[in-house]
């Protein structure tokens, strides 16, 4: 093969895609090993009697709520119906401009208590603290708007549990999910954080704040996200457990040791990727102190969340996530390739920087050059064959995730739902990913210009039907 500019370009593009696919394959193998390990171990981790005891570690569920009037009551009801015996729920109304606070008062008959607490973490002014007279496990904090991280910090200040579980206000949690999330803390005293799986709730059927039946989404955009979420959680996070570099515990569902969070100063209020940022800081502190700080992802505890169903909302979300990633990579660049930070510094952060951080730029350059090459005749149409092969292999990886998902959770059943998901997987590869690349580039542009705010959120209430 002669190395004329056209061929060289194709070789370069295929090399980048090849490296990305190779990295994915390594993660697939790692995830398979970990899954087998977890399955064998968890069969013997049925702490049914123990975790139903009121002496089990107290868990405070932290629910930051900003303009959540449509879904807050249902979410909180779902949380209070969790089967965990030693539970407290702290909802923080983060200066909502809608009727969130009124909805909470109406649904849970709140009674004011004096706002005296130990303010270990700095937050915006707390206007009032309320406790439900219907269920005293519910505490509501009304404060001035300061963003999600600020609301979480306010909740951590007030939390009385030794473990805190951060969830989004629009998240539904499976009844036994907390038991499963707490189990790793019992088994290994070095565990400081455990994350669970997030599934999409759109088009599901629910009963009393709990999801009872999942169906394949009807909306193409939500369907593509279903495939993407499965890949992100089953491969992206599970695979990092044995590699020791798990850097993300989803802000929508994760349990932390409260003391550890307090020691690192809580959530960073000036970061848009506050969940990942906190985990990286927890890891860093652990390594700096030569402590074993175990941060794990557990696939079985499941929570459901509503996925954006419109291009506009999704664009904002992806843009924010990407800016969050860049922010974390930039803040903790000193950890990169430093053996002192072991797998987090030597593997995970470089992976996130190269594969996740640089991906949109590389993809954009690759596609642009290919189009220019085709237009100017530098690349012959037949030269695109390797590119097509790479895409087909990428698509195969998506199907492998679906098979994985089926084996682990059996989320969707029936041939019709599976065929739908096949279509979504193709859509995700061919349309969704290129579009997200554009959004991430937009995020990069905003990041370079110093934009750090979250942007407006759109809430439609749960798209689930009551069974």
């Amino acid at each position: 093969m002669n190395l004329d500019p056209g061929n060289l370009l194709i070789v370069l593009v295929v090399a980048v895609l090849g490296i990305s696919i190779l990295a994915q394959l390594v993660l697939y193998v790692s995830a398979s090993i970990e899954l087998r390990h977890i399955r064998q171990r968890d069969r013997h981790r049925m702490w049914r009697r123990i975790l139903n005891s009121p002496l089990s570690p107290r868990v405070t569920v932290l629910v930051p709520a900003y303009n959540e009037e449509l879904s807050i009551a249902r979410s909180v009801r779902g949380l209070l119906s969790l089967t965990y015996a030693n539970l407290e729920v702290v909802v923080v109304n983060d200066g909502s401009s809608d009727e969130t606070m009124a909805e909470l008062e109406r649904a849970f008959d709140l009674s004011p208590v004096h706002p005296i607490f130990q303010r270990v973490l700095n937050t915006k002014v707390v206007r009032g603290i309320y406790r439900s007279t219907m269920d005293t496990r519910l505490v509501v904090v009304d404060k001035e708007n300061g963003g999600k991280a600020d609301a979480l910090n306010a909740a951590i200040n007030i939390a009385s549990g030794e473990l805190v579980c951060a969830i989004d206000a629009d998240t539904l949690v499976a009844p036994d999910a907390l038991q499963q999330l707490v189990a790793p803390f019992l088994s290994d005293p070095h565990t400081i954080a455990v994350g669970g799986t997030i599934r999409l709730v759109n088009d599901a059927k629910s009963h009393r704040g709990q999801v009872v039946r999942l169906k394949a989404p009807r909306n193409w955009l939500v369907g593509a996200q279903a495939v993407e979420y499965a890949r992100a959680f089953l491969i992206g996070r599970l695979a990092w457990n044995p590699l020791g570099g798990n850097l993300i515990i989803s802000g929508a569902f994760g349990v932390f040791q409260r003391q550890a969070v307090l020691e690192v100063g809580g959530y960073a209020r000036d970061s848009v990727g506050e969940d990942m940022e906190l985990v990286v800081r927890l890891r860093k502190l652990g390594y700096d102190r030569n402590d074993v700080a175990r941060i794990v992802f557990s696939p079985d505890p499941v929570a459901w969340t509503e996925a954006p169903a419109s291009w506009r909302t999704l664009a904002r979300q992806r843009n924010r996530w990407y800016r969050g990633l860049l922010d974390v990579l930039l803040r903790h660049r000193s950890m990169m390739l430093r053996p002192r930070y072991r797998s987090a510094g030597m593997l995970a952060l470089p992976y996130f920087a190269l594969v996740e951080g640089l991906a949109p730029v590389l993809e954009f350059i690759g596609v642009t050059l290919t189009i220019i090459g085709l237009a100017t005749g530098i690349i012959e149409p037949a030269g695109l064959l390797p590119l097509l092969v790479a895409y087909l292999v990428g698509l195969s990886a998506s199907f492998l995730v679906l098979i994985f998902d089926d084996l682990v959770f059996g989320t969707y059943s029936g041939v019709r739902d599976r065929l739908k998901l096949c279509a979504f997987a193709v859509f995700e590869q061919l349309v969704f990913r290129p579009v997200t690349t554009v959004w991430r580039l937009w995020g990069l542009w905003l990041f370079l210009r110093g934009r750090k705010e979250w942007g407006a959120q759109e809430r439609r209430g749960f798209a689930v039907q009551e069974a």
């Binding site: 702490w47 002496l55 089990s56 004096h114 005296i116 097509l388 087909l392 098979i403 059943s413 096949c422």
Partner: protein
């Protein structure tokens, strides 16, 4: 497109995965449904044996050999904790008759810890007490934890020493399981517990204190007095909590702990006063309505409600307290009491008079 060309290979790989996902998944659904049906059927058989009359149970026993051993084990593991009394005796009999007991005992000796862990979860069904005790001393922490979690009440008394040693275990799951097992035990655990708690150097003292605090027995009072003087606030708090479960003997100790430097201890002491209905301490509890900690103030309010009518009187006195927090808490509590009585429709003339007393003119 040649099948062995890179494109052909990639397309074939994709095709195979699609077929595997759609058809393999469908096949898995069918097998899963069939398995679920078998499990449901097996559950029905076991429920008939365990819960129905002798004749029907006898008929159901004949169906038992049709259930694969794997499913029998799975079901017993799930159900064993849920049966008590006669049903429990029947499960044991069933396990012996079907040879499952022998199988579980064999599992308890396997080299692979996973088998031993499963045996530990069924430990109460193993007839040989030595085999049960061996699991409790297993080298694998999870096996020890499961064995402790599934101990019989009778075994708890016999293994009390081992369980107390387990409270010092470096593995938290083992400590937790041992603690729960001790809590499920009867009064025979008290003496060894007292002996264990007299020594301050055990790493598991706090865990043992929690057990003691939840075991209402006057013999534990000296232990609570001892730990109420500890420099560790958590120990003092648990001691206060425990003292609240020993009627009559603890008022002097509680009055001391009501003014402890730690808010958690004060809260526990106030709660204990409420549980003991120690009306003579209601004045001291009333003083806690001006406590710097909201949790303590709230607990004081709730306790005074429990100590009615003396407690209500103290609350009314604090409506004129110079401290705004004490005033507010008293106001909130009296309001809550009145609302609750209103809800139950039992407002009395005395209540109305009381309302007149504190509503500002």
């Amino acid at each position: 497109m040649k099948l062995l060309s890179p494109l052909g290979l990639a397309a074939s790989l994709l095709g195979i995965l699609v077929v595997l996902y759609v058809l393999g998944g469908g096949l898995r659904d069918v097998i899963g449904r069939r398995r679920q049906r078998r499990i449901t059927e097996a559950k029905r058989v076991i429920a008939r044996i365990v819960l129905s009359g002798d004749e029907e149970a006898g008929q159901a026993v004949d169906d038992l050999p049709n259930i694969p051993r794997r499913i029998r084990l799975k079901l017993l593991t799930e159900l064993v904790l849920d049966f008590e009394g006669d049903a429990d005796a029947r499960v044991r009999k069933l396990v012996e008759v079907t040879g499952l007991a022998h199988h579980i005992t064999r599992m308890a000796r396997r080299r692979n810890w996973r088998y031993r862990a499963q045996a530990a979860r069924l430990a109460s069904l193993i007839p040989d007490p030595e085999a049960r005790a061996r699991l409790l001393h297993d080298r694998h922490a999870l096996v020890r934890a499961h064995a402790a979690e599934n101990l019989d009440r009778e075994d708890v008394a016999g293994q009390c020493g081992t369980l107390l040693d387990h409270l010092d275990d470096p593995n938290r799951a083992v400590r937790f399981a041992a603690q729960q097992a001790l809590l499920a035990g009867d009064s025979r655990i008290v003496e060894p517990l007292v002996a264990f708690l007299q020594d301050d150097d055990h790493p598991g003292t706090l865990w043992a204190l929690e057990v003691a605090a939840n075991t209402p027995d006057p013999r534990l009072m000296p232990v609570f007095r001892h730990h109420a003087k500890s420099s560790d606030a958590q120990r003092r708090a648990i001691a206060a909590e425990g003292a609240g479960n020993v009627p009559g003997a603890a008022t002097d100790l509680l009055s001391e702990l009501l003014t402890d430097v730690d808010a958690e201890v004060r809260t526990a002491a106030i709660g204990a006063v409420g549980r003991l209905r120690a009306v003579e301490l209601s004045g001291l509890v009333g003083e806690r309505l001006s406590d710097p900690s909201w949790v303590v103030r709230r607990q004081a309010g709730l306790t005074l409600e429990m100590l009615a009518p003396t407690g209500s009187m103290v609350l009314r006195q604090h409506l004129n307290d110079p401290d705004p927090y004490a005033r507010d808490m008293a106001h909130l509590m009296l309001d809550a009491i009145a609302t609750r009585r209103g809800q139950w429709g039992i407002i009395t003339t005395a209540d109305l008079e009381a309302l007149d007393d504190w509503v500002p003119a």
